[in-house]
Symmetry: C3
Subunit: 482 residues, 3 copies
């Protein structure tokens, strides 16, 4: 029985487990949605009534029009951005984009429920009322799990990914509740809640699932020319739409406007420093696609918390400047060390793109919050930006800064501890993960077409050339030995 | 002469016909636009006057701001979504994305005219006044023809596609007029008007154009690794933007908001069931890219009619759940049977993605409409949602359900009968379609670059190896027969 | 020393120069942003105050909501559109998409400063106040430089591109100031300011950098199958979002609405004529991907100036019709002649897609402006459209037409003269550009993965086949000469 528990021969056949999980969980979603989820008043046919009662002058003031364009950009980041960013491996593009798709499609449903219970449950009716902002938050929540997938890319089965997502979304909703509601920290673009949490969550799972013989799959742990170009689709859609990501759920008006500007600037800045470090750390000054695909995004991650604050345009540039450097250095130096000394196998380098820049983003947010002044923000602006209302009406910016920093620690702790526990669950050998010599390979879970196309003409040419020769392999040919 | 009529040797040379059709039709468009089409009052320089007269308080209430983001998403679905979805064939990516581009660019112009004549012709001036909603509707109209293209992919010439589009748009405008105006059915996302019509239109044409010897092109009727990744670009952009598709022309405010939420949920649900069925129907539980690329979208198709209704979030999940299953089963079992017994060659499986889910969507809409209650919708909501105004002020929801079902039948009938007739037109052997052994091949209509890149090093290697041999093919070499 | 100056042996090692330029310039940006750039009142926490003072009734009237969706579309055009359009070369996709990314990320920062100094510097505070419109304008400004890159694709180093961008953005800001502020010409979509300028700027640089022995790199100056499909991603995102490009900074309300409609129509029309000419100019009527990728966009370029005018829908179709023809003819006939007789090496054919259609667009704008009437526009519409206010209150449409034409000449002059000068700077052999036999090759500046994947099975097959032969290459084999 021990051999069963510790693996023995591994089968990647998920013909029972994958359909079972998909069906059962989807049915559970339907039941739970039936019990708990309804449209909110802005998405309901009672909207016109609601509009009159609240003196809303026009349909255009429906939250839909404030947030839907940002929502769609975020949606693209989740499905195309994360999905294609991971297609860089030479033979794992189906898994990258396909499992990303599966995981996200399940995760957004579960996130609507989990986040609903914690944040928007109407105590009177016991219902969760959803609108476009909930859809954005569900996408955000899933982003944490997709980040974790990045660390595990090529080494886990789709069933493991679904389990990772189930627990990941649950943990996310709890830490988000602690951070946003209890600590009353601000984190509109999720440096802490999404990136630090997601990054450390994935790293902790990867650490638990350490594969000592992973170099048996080394031949497939790399890119080919076109897979790198596919990955750039992911990079660019993430990069371009990050201003929408960080501004999607900020305050109407100046809040969204400012968050978009700050993120735009931080991202631009991190491109230049990522390129600089990539070139200077290679012998001949050549650029490495891994850095361009990833480290250029570090500015967006690090601006997640502070984007809605008055960090000032030059402040955003500084954030991007530093994080582009740190992230690229991470890819060059830290990832190999982590693998060597910490037994941490991090396929996409989420440590450098999400964990560290996310953590930094949290602390940057704390500092910017702590140094906010009424002079810069105006009294009203300060209240709006940090939501100093209700129970938190007399919080000072200094205290806020402290709570922001505490929030960042909470996110990291949830990631590491939660990831450790989930890793143990995923270690149980019933999930159909691939053997050590079978990683990074779509063959394990996908019907892969034969690439005869590129080979055919050559085989033909070969046949032609060889058949022009007399048949040398048969016995009617006599080679004379001297 | 009979041999001429029935094909004999086929030439794919479209050097006369393609430019002629493009030029003549484009000139016709210019003339007809000159006679009929003007800007509507929201796109015209008289807007400020109009605004004052209608007490519109702000420029932001111009319909442009309600619909332009959705329009752009729909536009992406038409050109990138449909285009790239069809790139999955190993050697038909140019045709997939290029002819899709050509057909859509012509179709939207013709649709502006056809839909204008039927729906928005100003009787006083005899002009069609266009704005952003017309652009969306033109894109919708073209979608029907692009769906039909999916059934014919690789087997028709660009001239045939243009003819298909000319008639397709015409038929579309008529059936749309009958369904929306005469029957007063609702179909915001076009389950019936777009998908059921387009799907059956394509299938009927394909049936008429049946090629008994198509297996001569069998070698090219399949994907390669990278073409499947390209196709995922199409899938994902369709999937992500489908909420915009179904909400693009619904009512301002709650209508758009609710339609987006419902579609988002149905799509998420159909991903899980498509994956489940794909895995369970394969021997080793491996996923098939065809299912992931297509059946995951079935939820969006089926929500086309009901998205704006109060189907409730769990209702949307159920729709996606069922259609993901049905669509995947279609790919696994029904398509092969259709080909075998009905002589129906359906390259992209539009039967499973558009025809059937579209039809189901129509009937789901009928049921949801028939079961609408004032309790759920409010009196005002009911009137707004089903547009029970003017001539239709005293229609009951039950009657509405009946008309919805009738509308679905109309769409299917138009598709089948129209497609049959157009198929006969396309059978006339003057359109330059490829021979049976020349299908699915870009060589027929495109200057295809030689892929020397990947072959060159191998040829070199070959030459090297073979030239290391003594020249065996010339007469100075003597083979001794034993 | 002369040999040093004139090249001698060329090294593409940019390990010092590239990081140095990136670092120093990025630090300069931070300092300059610190001194000059702040949020404008719509992005600042004082917004609620500003709103009350200016009687703005709702947050939705923040300029952010008028322009952010268009901004994101433009952003996609700059990074994915231009980037992927240039991936068509078989081995320069990394450089196409990667250097495009680098150049644009630097350029938008420098553009915010340069355009700010010329257009939006607050004389009281000495600050540039930025909002979403500035971000759009920065993207526009960079577009000019990316167009110039198209002419130089594969022949320059990333350091040269950064230098090109530094000067390009500077020149752009000056010509834009002359054209928009001094001449008071209208050019919302930048036919003149962006396309004519950018096109001639790139051509002039390319002319100065003429490489007589470029045919040494001929083997790489072409596409392969999949690189052409990648390029279509660029084409389509440019094509689809061009209506946003031309309408992004036009007047709120009807201005944006009309510009989007006109561009949509012109683009549709140019697809048909590009296809027609592509087919008719090839022996067998086959389509050429170069034309489909490029000439289909000519309608968008040419509508840049006139899109916001009352050119009427049929007018837009005519513009697209003509420019699709002219542009495709350019690719077929003019580019080879330019190379042969003018020593102009234009990798992407920017002459045909940007320079000429941009120039035509400028003159079309002049004609449409000159023929504007109060009858069509209304008095108020005329004033709004051409901004006949302040110093320009009594300008007539005829005069306006004259100034528009003059503006077009200014843009071209700036492009040619500026490009000539910048070309001389780039000729100094310190920038690490590739040798004549090393162009169009990512190996020069990128760590390129080995494409073992597709070759491995063939090599194996070869080995198998050849090893089945007796070893013919060793001395134990005797060939008998007759």
């Amino acid at each position: 029985m021990l051999s069963w528990f510790y693996g023995g021969t591994k089968s990647t056949n998920v013909r029972v487990s994958l359909p079972a999980v998909c069906f059962v969980w989807q049915i559970a979603m339907i039941v739970l949605f039936g019990v708990f989820i309804r449209y909110n008043e802005e998405a309901d046919t009672h909207w016109q009534e609601f509009r009159r009662e609240n003196n809303i002058t026009s349909d255009i003031e429906n939250d839909f029009y404030f947030r839907y364009p940002s929502f769609q950009d975020v949606h693209v980041m989740i499905f195309v951005g994360f999905g294609f960013l991971m297609t860089f491996l030479k033979r794992y593009s189906f898994g990258a984009v396909g499992f990303n798709f599966l995981v996200a499609a399940f995760g957004i449903q579960w996130a609507l429920l989990m986040q609903g219970w914690f944040h928007t449950l109407d105590p009177a009716t016991g219902k969760i009322l959803i609108g476009v902002e909930n859809l954005i938050n569900a996408d955000f929540c899933v982003a944490g799990c997709l980040i974790a997938y990045g660390a595990l890319l090529g080494k886990v089965s789709p069933v493991q990914l679904l389990v990772l997502t189930l627990f990941g979304v649950t943990l996310f909703a709890v830490e988000e509740y602690i951070i946003l509601d209890l600590l009353h920290a601000r984190d509109a673009g999720g440096s802490m809640v999404i990136h630090a949490f997601g990054g450390y969550y994935g790293l902790a799972i990867s650490w638990v699932l350490y594969r000592p013989n992973l170099n048996l799959s080394k031949r497939l742990n790399g890119s080919v020319y076109h897979s790198d170009v596919f990955a750039m689709i992911g990079t660019l859609f993430l990069w371009m739409f990050w201003p929408s990501f960080n501004s999607a759920i900020t305050d109407h008006g100046d809040g969204q406007h400012r968050a978009a500007i700050n993120t735009y600037l931080a991202l631009a800045s991190s491109v230049l420093t990522a390129v600089a470090i990539s070139s200077v750390t290679q012998k001949k000054g050549k650029l490495d696609m891994v850095h361009i695909q990833n480290a250029t995004l570090a500015g967006g991650v690090a601006m997640g918390t502070a984007a809605e604050f008055m960090i000032m345009p030059y402040g955003s540039l500084i954030v991007g400047f530093c994080c582009g450097i740190i992230s690229t250095f991470g890819y060059v130096f830290v990832t190999p060390l982590l693998e060597k000394y910490l037994k941490l196998q991090d396929t996409c380098g989420v440590h450098n793109l999400h964990a560290v820049p996310g953590m930094l983003g949290g602390f940057i947010g704390a500092i910017v919050a702590a140094s906010a002044t009424e002079e810069v923000y105006s009294r009203e602006g300060l209240i709006n930006t940090f939501d100093f209302e209700g129970d938190f009406a007399d919080r000072t910016v200094g205290t806020q800064g402290g709570f922001q920093a505490a929030a960042c620690c909470v996110a990291i702790a949830f990631g590491i501890v939660g990831g450790g526990c989930v890793g143990l669950v995923l270690k149980i050998p019933i999930w159909g993960d691939p053997a050590d010599d079978n990683c990074y390979d779509d063959e394990a879970y996908w019907e892969v077409p034969e690439d005869d196309e590129s080979i055919a003409p050559i085989l033909e040419y070969n046949n032609h050339m060889i058949h022009k020769l007399p048949d040398l392999s048969e016995s009617n040919f006599q080679v004379e030995q001297i």
